[in-house]
Subunit: 418 residues, 2 copies
């Protein structure tokens, strides 16, 4: 197989399909999404069989338990996938939305219209449900998609792709609106990210290794999501009860998510009063504490934190802790060590809250709320294609809007420029 030629063909087909789907009606897109959901339910046994073959091979190849868990698609997972397609159908169509129309002194009205980006390339790892989720979000936002799933999930992804094509066909849309790469050759990724003539943006979803490789090789924009080294800062003006509740939730509600807090900062003036209680709560929930010298004095069970600890996204029952002078030191520390994902302050002080909101350079900045809220569903986006830690184009959870752009429109009545 000539990979370059194959990828060029996919690219050409996607570019042609993008022009069609960009002008598709909301009704056609929703019909396709609902038909996909129906196909997923009807072909449940087929999907389970394809996935079982993938899982069997993964076991044979000795893949680890976590990978096999992510790969596995059972009847419940298939129903969730179908419901996800229906939820995207229920979201408002962002394409064609006109905003900000203002009349100018010349008489023309100038505004913006939301439009699709064009062709979106999505590269992901083991989870086969991403095939359906990504297809749905790209279709609803009027884009064509080229999907590249994990090698381990090839059979599952092909089976899901068949359902997606069935849905597109039922709505009279080109089946090439969503194409799933059919080879596991890694060279395909290299071509996908370097065809600016056919692909407008790349969304890599997966581990840091994948994202770094894609970013390094890409010749088109990348919506990337690196670490989630999230902080909670307990200010000198914090409400102690809110602080305790927020740290508990941010660190312990789920240990392995990107919006889990990995580091706790606390103002010196309230550390002796509040840190022991917070630490006891964490230790009681099995969390290991790695702190600065002051933390170790207040929390005898705490181990010493290294410089490296403050940079670390543990995704585990460990938290780094540092006593800081005030909100200024907290902001400086966060802007140095944070991965610019999500950081929160707990405070009752208006000016501290405003400074933290303004000066912390992260995708999500919160006052008196758990970092765990940084999520497309919690933010009301309905669904998300990923969480961007970039600053260009889209930051934080990326939903339908992040897969669109805005063009200028001018409504005139024969005006000319003087």
């Amino acid at each position: 197989m000539d990979i370059q030629n194959y990828m060029q063909q996919l690219g050409q087909a996607a570019r042609a399909a993008a022009a069609e789907v960009a002008k598709a009606s909301t009704a056609a897109k929703n019909t396709a999404l609902l038909a996909m959901a129906q196909a997923v339910r009807e072909r449940r046994d087929e999907l389970c069989a394809a996935n079982a073959a993938d899982v069997a091979q993964a076991r044979q190849e000795g893949l680890d338990a976590a990978m096999i868990e992510r790969l596995t698609l059972n009847a419940k997972g298939i129903e969730t996938m179908a419901q996800g397609l229906e939820q995207v159908a229920a979201l408002p169509d962002p394409v064609g939305e006109i905003t900000d129309l203002k009349r100018r002194p010349s008489g023309i009205q100038v505004g913006k219209m939301r439009v699709p980006i064009g062709v979106v390339g999505i590269i992901y790892e083991a989870r086969p449900n991403v095939t359906a989720d990504a297809a749905a979000l790209c279709l609803k936002s009027g884009n064509a998609a080229i999907l590249r799933g994990g090698r381990e999930a090839l059979r599952s992804n092909q089976a899901i792709a068949a359902c997606v094509r069935e849905g597109l066909k039922a709505a009279g849309l080109p089946e090439t609106v969503v194409q799933v790469i059919e080879t596991t050759d890694r060279a395909a990724v290299g071509h996908l990210v370097a065809m600016p003539q056919y692909v407008d943006v790349i969304v890599p979803r997966g581990g840091k290794g994948l994202i770094e490789r894609v970013s390094a090789e890409a010749r088109v924009p990348v919506i990337k999501h690196l670490d989630g080294n999230c902080h909670v800062y307990v200010d000198d003006a914090a409400d102690a009860a809110k602080a305790l509740r927020i740290v508990e939730n941010a660190k312990t509600q789920r240990l392995g998510t990107c919006n889990t807090a990995e580091s706790l900062l606390i103002a010196r003036s309230v550390a002796s009063a509040q840190l022991p209680k917070i630490a006891n709560m964490l230790i009681g929930k099995g969390v290991e504490i790695r702190g600065c010298a002051e933390t170790q004095k207040l929390v005898p069970a705490a181990k010493a934190a290294t410089e490296e600890d403050y940079y670390t996204e543990y995704l585990a029952a460990i938290i780094s802790v540092k006593v800081v002078v005030d909100v200024s030191e907290a902001i400086t520390h966060i802007n140095k060590y944070s991965s610019q994902h999500t950081d929160a302050i707990v405070t009752e002080n208006y000016t501290h809250a405003m400074r933290f909101l303004r000066e912390v350079d992260s995708a999500s900045v919160m006052v008196n709320a758990s970092t765990r809220f940084a999520d497309g569903f919690e933010y009301g986006l309905g669904a998300e294609i990923g969480i961007s830690t970039d600053k260009f184009h889209a930051r934080g959870p990326v939903g339908l809007e992040g897969l669109t752009s805005q063009k200028w429109i001018v409504l005139g009545d024969g005006e000319v420029r003087g």
Copy 2:
């Protein structure tokens, strides 16, 4: 001089300055801009002398008249530059603007805050006034800037840079907020566009050669502006008087701007009634007509247009003309040949207007208005750093807003995720 080392130093200084200017108050930024304007006026003779030396050298090197015109900075140009700085001071500060706050079912309020992008690299050619314009827009939008002007304008740019630094100093801002590259070595550009750790976006302003080189070498996002091959489509439902007026203005008001119309499309059913009049008007103004076979029948003076003509941005007294069946063929033609800059329809038909707005994939799409309106000032942006023909991040005229991004903010009262 070790160029790589020099550029790394500029990059590090810019990154550090970006953190400072991002949190600078509106008052400090405006103080700096007004002090820059004052410095430009006070140092007028110095600026004229530096520019005269650049111009003398350019003449000696035999640069062409157009280049020398762009390079020349006289007393009037210096006053315009000072006024431009004052105008940017008068624009609203986009940084810190909070929008779209909505309460979610969890109780948190989720919204967006506008923030600077970080470090902006701007690469331009002969015009020295870009040094002041770009510095002003980057500063006001809270970004640090690294500027690389044309080799020919080195002395002028250094003199303007001194005024910029004086303004920054007067406001207590780091002088490294705006740095002008002091070497004419072309390798500096190669480094500037490939330092993602220090530079967040590149804006090339200049000819196609420059922009293509920058795009090919860039390892960071580029806000680029390629051709302006703009169309006016006269629909079968066009008001003939509006059509004549708009074509006249779009083609002949200025011949050499990127928003000048380069191609005229007209619906077959009105071509015999309207095209001869439009053509006579154009011919009367010295415009050469290159048309399809049908055009040549209706306009005996028309030459035959080649396929290449329809792709061409003439920037001259030439227009390509094609008779099309209807709005569908017009849209198809434009999406094939246009440079996605600005395209207009003249029509009284609502559905044709709506289809054209939705389906023409260009940065600016207009109904019953001259393409010449595609401009930051006409759109109310106050000033523009350039016009983007990209779809990612910013499209069309890029003002202060295009130099910013939005982060998410969450305002809570102790909420945690359930």
